[in-house]
Amino acid sequence: MQLKTRKFINKLFSGTGIASVVIMTAFLLILLTPIAFRGLGAIFFTGTIEHRMLNCKEFGHGNREKIEKEFAKAKAAREPVYLQFDSFKKEVKNFDPEKRRELKSQLKEIKEFLKELLGPFPDEPTPVLLRNQYGQTRWKNAKEKFHHILYSEEWDYSDPDKPGVKLFIPRKKYFAKTSFESFFPYLEKNIKEMLLPEFTCYWQFLTDKSKDAHFFGGIMPEILGTIYLALGAMIFAVPLGILAAIYLSEYAKPGKVISFLRICMGALAGVPSIVFGLFGLAFFINTIHVSDSKSVLAGSLTLALLILPTVIRSAEEAIKAVPNTYREASLGLGAGKWHSIWTVVLPNALPGILTGTIISLGRAAGETAPIIFTAAVSVGLPLKIWETLSQPTPALSWNIYNLCTEHEAVDEIRHVQYGMVFVLIAIVLLFNLSAIIARARILKKLKS
């Protein structure tokens, strides 16, 4: 082979390698960018007066007097809309039957969207569901509903070979040459006065309970549930893991028993997470009855088993990384074996153990499958610490699944879903980042 081709192949080889690393980086960015961007949208967004009113009434946020003044202003701007709507409703009778039917169906649609946009009509009784008591709280969604009022959606199937094409027909056209025609320009002109959009920082998203199945409010019960589950798993797994690691690295002599134990640990690490969930249900709940049904305790125990192999492995590595001279020095000074492990080896291995622990804490916080049958419910209140022994809890990971597949209005609460995913990833990555930084510092220390 010529030298040129060999050099070319060499470059190609390096290029493919670098390309694959670049692909991985690109994917991480593709994954995180929209989630971070839209997740932050759950906290920072353009909120309407309805949002301020809701927050004030349901959660007591904000200055009540000021908000009520604003709301009165918005109400005044809305009044002509309702007046015109009602007066035209009476006028409809005067049209010929065919036109009347068309106008009536249009009016009905407009009324529905108006209700969604601005809340219930003033002369209506208060609806039962909280989501119907208020108009659109977010300016972005309000604009969408507003578009539905101005334009009706129709499908064009004129070309039989192609799928239908969506058309937007201005509703104004249906009301041409009637007194209702001026309704639309008024709406367009005054929509901002009616909703008073302004930039909102709803940081209470992290500390509020949810209202009406996540239509409004925050995600505090979920965050708390995730923290309970992860910490609970730690409480069970870390002491066990560290003691097991001490035995495996300091006491165990290589032999059949130990290699058998290691195979078992490998098998435990390889068990699919959903099988852990089934096992938790069959063992912790149905057999030894740690609680009557799902509970944080059962979920934590299941998660603890899941992360146990990781904790053992990282603790063992950390203990093995402590130089042998330390042990010899301690033994030479007359300390016993356990004494030297406790006072010399463990303190030196602690940073490494901590790193592994933090990473598995993140893993426990993010796992979903093991808690489906053992701990998670879709809606719930934040638990007191003693209630975790017997009560199930909502958790970020499970509620993300639940909200984006089983919720009755998946599209309306996208911001909550993104917010939850963002918070979960932020929690897990923060844990990992701190572990990475801690490890880098330890490496530096060991080198110097």
Binding site: G17, V21, T25, V275, G366, I436
Partner: protein, 309 residues
């Protein structure tokens, strides 16, 4: 300090016996804790298999492994799980096709091509990919990637292709880190010997280092397969959950259903009727999953402990 009491540097016989007894009790205690994970593995096997056996006793193996009708809620239920096994295999295969080439190239790049400084940046990226919770990947697949595929012309965005790509990316960090460890473990002497003979970096890696690390790299691939098979949330959210064999089988734009997703999805309904066939069949599936992962584990163990070059 009390100097009046007579102290000897050497323990008396009694004291020494106590010491030895104490240390052996402590050692035994530690051993018990260390063997806890073995106990757990056996408990898991026992509880899953125990609840799976009644299904096989009643229905036999034939329908479960070869039937194609999956209607567990019907009366009497039909439990042909072949489409579900096929779905699992398809999705895993897709993930491996995507993850293995990229993963091995990236591992080679990380261990031999990149400079130390860039590696310090690239490694946390791999770790971050591994740390992102599976439900977040599932959310991405369902809410962002599936509509995107639909825009490109797929009838349904939740299909084999979607799941394969996402699972492949989830398996990447496992493959990269294990394969990189294997490549690092190949000694410098082999590399230097090859360079001394005038080989380029590409030739050294392809002809010397990668063959030497072959066992570790295949273990990495098997671990990646295990990650893909055992993954629940992504396949549950983004595979379409249709218990059917794609027609034709290589049509990646059709929805499938996998073992893990079936367990996760059906357990909520079957839970109320604990003891029914519907409940037991899910444990039978979990037992099959366990068997597969245990097999993979054994293979990787066997490969890594085999005599190296």
């Amino acid at each position: 300090m009390n100097f009046n009491k007579k102290q000897s540097l050497v323990f008396s016989k009694k004291e020494a016996a106590f010491q030895r007894l104490g240390s052996s009790i402590g050692k035994g205690f530690l051993f018990l804790i260390a063997s806890f994970s073995a106990v757990v593995v056996f408990l898991i096997f026992w509880f899953i298999v125990k609840d799976g056996i009644p299904f096989f006793v009643e229905k036999g193996f034939k329908e479960f492994f070869t039937g194609t009708n999956w209607y567990p809620a019907a009366e009497p239920g039909e439990f042909g799980a072949l489409p579900i096994f096929v779905g699992t295999i398809l999705v895993t295969l897709g993930a491996i096709i995507i993850a293995v080439p990229i993963g091995i190239c990236a591992a080679v790049c990380l261990s031999d091509v990149l400079s130390f400084k860039i590696r310090q940046i690239a490694k946390p990226i791999v770790e971050m990919l591994a740390a992102v919770p599976s439900v977040a990947y599932g959310f991405f697949a369902l809410v962002i990637f599936a509509p995107f595929l639909q825009k490109l012309g797929a009838t349904s965005g939740t299909n084999v292709l979607n799941v394969s790509i996402i699972l492949g990316i989830m398996a990447l960090p496992t493959i990269v880190s294990v394969a990189e460890d294997a490549l690092q473990a190949v000694g410098k002497d082999l590399r230097e010997g090859s360079y001394a003979l005038g080989a380029t970096r590409a030739e050294t890696l392809i002809k010397v280092v990668i063959p030497a690390a072959a066992s570790g790299i295949s273990a990495a691939v098997i671990l990646g397969i295990m990650r893909a098979i055992g993954e629940t949330m992504v396949v549950w959210m983004a595979s379409g959950n249709a218990a059917q064999i794609p027609e034709p089988i290589y049509n990646v734009l059709q929805p499938v259903r996998t073992l893990t997703a079936t367990i996760a999805g059906d357990m909520g309904e079957a839970d109320h009727i604990t003891g029914s066939m519907r409940y037991h069949v899910l444990f039978a599936m979990a037992a099959s999953l366990l068997a597969i992962s245990f097999l993979c584990n054994c293979i990787s163990e066997w490969i890594t402990t085999r005599k190296k070059y």
